[in-house]
Point group: C2
Chain length 340, copies 2
């Protein structure tokens, strides 16, 4: 049904359309690629490809453009992840090194991805639910105001202020700090939450109520799902190019991109850093974004994915390049997280 030459034609169409942004006709196709056949033959092949749903015509007297199905075949079968050039790799390394904290890492990654791919970049903060506790600090600010600081293995710092119902002695604070850290350090956050629940029993009954109050706040902070919704976004200026291609207004796009919940859906489940996920057109789980594609992958210390990053662009995007960039950035960021 689809012999090698037809696949070649499809590949050529995708590549040309991606680079020129214009429907590609049989004539230019044979001019720009060594297909070894005449335009008429290519036309026959194109007719078959259209029949099968891989390409389509915007209007009768125009060239062909790939359909979502066409891109899908292209991504699955006709291409592999490019490796970046050494200068590009160096650029990534220098851009990311020198980040002072997690916030800095995330922001740099977003900018980097946006710049590399000329698309919209999205980076999710490491999810708390997949992180482990590195340290818990209890600080008395005033006699009745207490600050909890939670530091995770991925460098996230969460803080909560607790207004105490009654003052608490330094000795109890010290005890609390010690108990907390032995109980939860190294634990994953969901488990830490349950461990915390059993702690009040270790305290003198006079202090139990206050300690329970403090730990409730901590457990709440640890379990709060909103904490997993933190994302950074960049390169929105690149959306304008989309708007020029598709004639859809970019307003709904911008609106969707301000909804962090939507973004997280787009990124999807954090996969292993070595697997790059591509969602094309209607495969993207959001109506407004039916003419866009998402290239994403997980990242995290070691090979444990603790969050996802990726880019969003028009379905007509340079998939090999985007996949390469996403893959490379995820690898570097993972490495940074591993080092600490």
């Amino acid at each position: 049904m689809l012999d090698d030459r037809k696949l070649d034609v499809l590949r050529a169409i995708v590549e040309d359309y991606v680079s020129t942004r214009e429907p590609v006709g049989s004539k230019v196709l044979v001019e720009r690629h060594q297909l070894g056949v005449s335009p008429a033959t290519v036309r026959n092949d194109m007719a078959v490809l259209e029949e099968e749903g891989f390409i389509t015509q915007p209007h009768t007297s125009a060239g062909r453009i790939p359909t979502d199905k066409g891109y899908r075949l292209f991504v699955d079968k006709l291409t592999s992840i490019k490796t970046l050039t050494p200068p590009e790799k160096r650029a990534i390394a220098t851009f990311l090194e020198g980040a002072v904290d997690l916030d800095d890492v995330v922001h740099r990654s977003v900018r980097l991805l946006a710049q590399l791919t000329q698309q919209v970049a999205i980076v999710q903060y490491p999810t708390l639910s997949r992180s482990t506790v590195r340290h818990v600090e209890v600080v008395l600010m005033t006699s009745t105001r207490l600050l909890l600081v939670l530091i995770t293995s991925t460098g996230r710092v969460e803080q909560r202020v607790v207004e105490l119902r009654e003052p608490l002695g330094d000795d109890v604070i010290g005890e609390l700090r010690a108990h907390l850290n032995t109980a939860v350090v190294g634990q994953r956050l969901p488990e830490a939450a349950s461990r915390v629940a059993s702690l009040p029993d270790k305290f003198h009954k006079d202090d139990k109520a206050v300690v329970a109050q403090i730990l409730a706040v901590l457990a709440d902070a640890v379990a709060d799902d909103r904490n997993d919704e933190k994302v950074a976004i960049g390169g929105t200026a690149n959306l304008v190019r989309f708007g020029e291609d598709f004639d859809l207004s970019i307003k709904p796009l911008l609106e969707a991109l301000e909804e962090h919940v939507v973004l997280l859906k787009l990124l999807g489940e954090a996969s292993s850093p070595s697997l790059v996920t591509v969602r094309i057109g209607h495969e993207v789980p959001h109506e407004t974004l039916a003419t866009t594609s998402v290239v994403a992958t997980g990242y995290g210390p070691g090979d444990r994915a603790v969050a996802t990053l990726g880019v969003l662009g028009p379905t007509r995007m340079d998939y090999p390049a985007s996949m390469a960039a996403v893959h490379a950035v995820a690898r570097y960021v993972s490495q940074i997280l591993s080092d600490g």
Copy 2:
């Protein structure tokens, strides 16, 4: 030169143009406003206003639109800050309460401002240089890795990891923590930095080198100017409306808005929360934004402005409404910072 009626005409032109987005002619003007004169008279007045540079014609056979100078006069003389309606005030209060930490406050403020004004909202994080130190925490993670956590009066938390050249005893850590806190708590950050510099002398000479290393990192974090460059932005989808009005592409706008340095310039010096600054068109310190206006004000605990927030919109914006919204949000955020 400009009698009362001419000022009335200018005000009417501004108001009509802002609400209809179309050049306004003499006829509709007398229809929609009680000016008590005929269109012909209004035309004479408009001719004078144009002569003086307050209004202009996009093309010969069109109505008039205000110039930057016209808006300036309108803002300075022809209007005062509206007070928000009670429901609006309530909306602000409920939207902002329940924020768990500073990040949350800032993000909520941005969304709130964007929603209230239907424009692009910008909120600067409290600057470190104007904050005071609330607490410094020193945490040993491993024997040679140490975490510094700095908490400011405005709720910002800065953290730095220090790789120690040699292990450090628990006693020294405790000593360091105590010295640090007595030396810098309550100090403004720039002063804290200099105080920190003199601390190593208090330690045994064996520890001095390591302590100095740690404090250097802390001083660096405290003095780092990039920390004052943190801003949040929201409502970029509203940019699209600009693009429809002005025919300039929104791409350069989006690009400018991704540059935090540019944003900070736009917001300008943090003024007292009770003073709302308005910059119109060319007064905005960025070429690309010559057709936009910025309405901003300072905020902070008490009446000390520690940062700035505001909105950016087309020069043709509803100034009274924007000023009211910015003013109100700044007040509420200031109050939250004072309390918590």
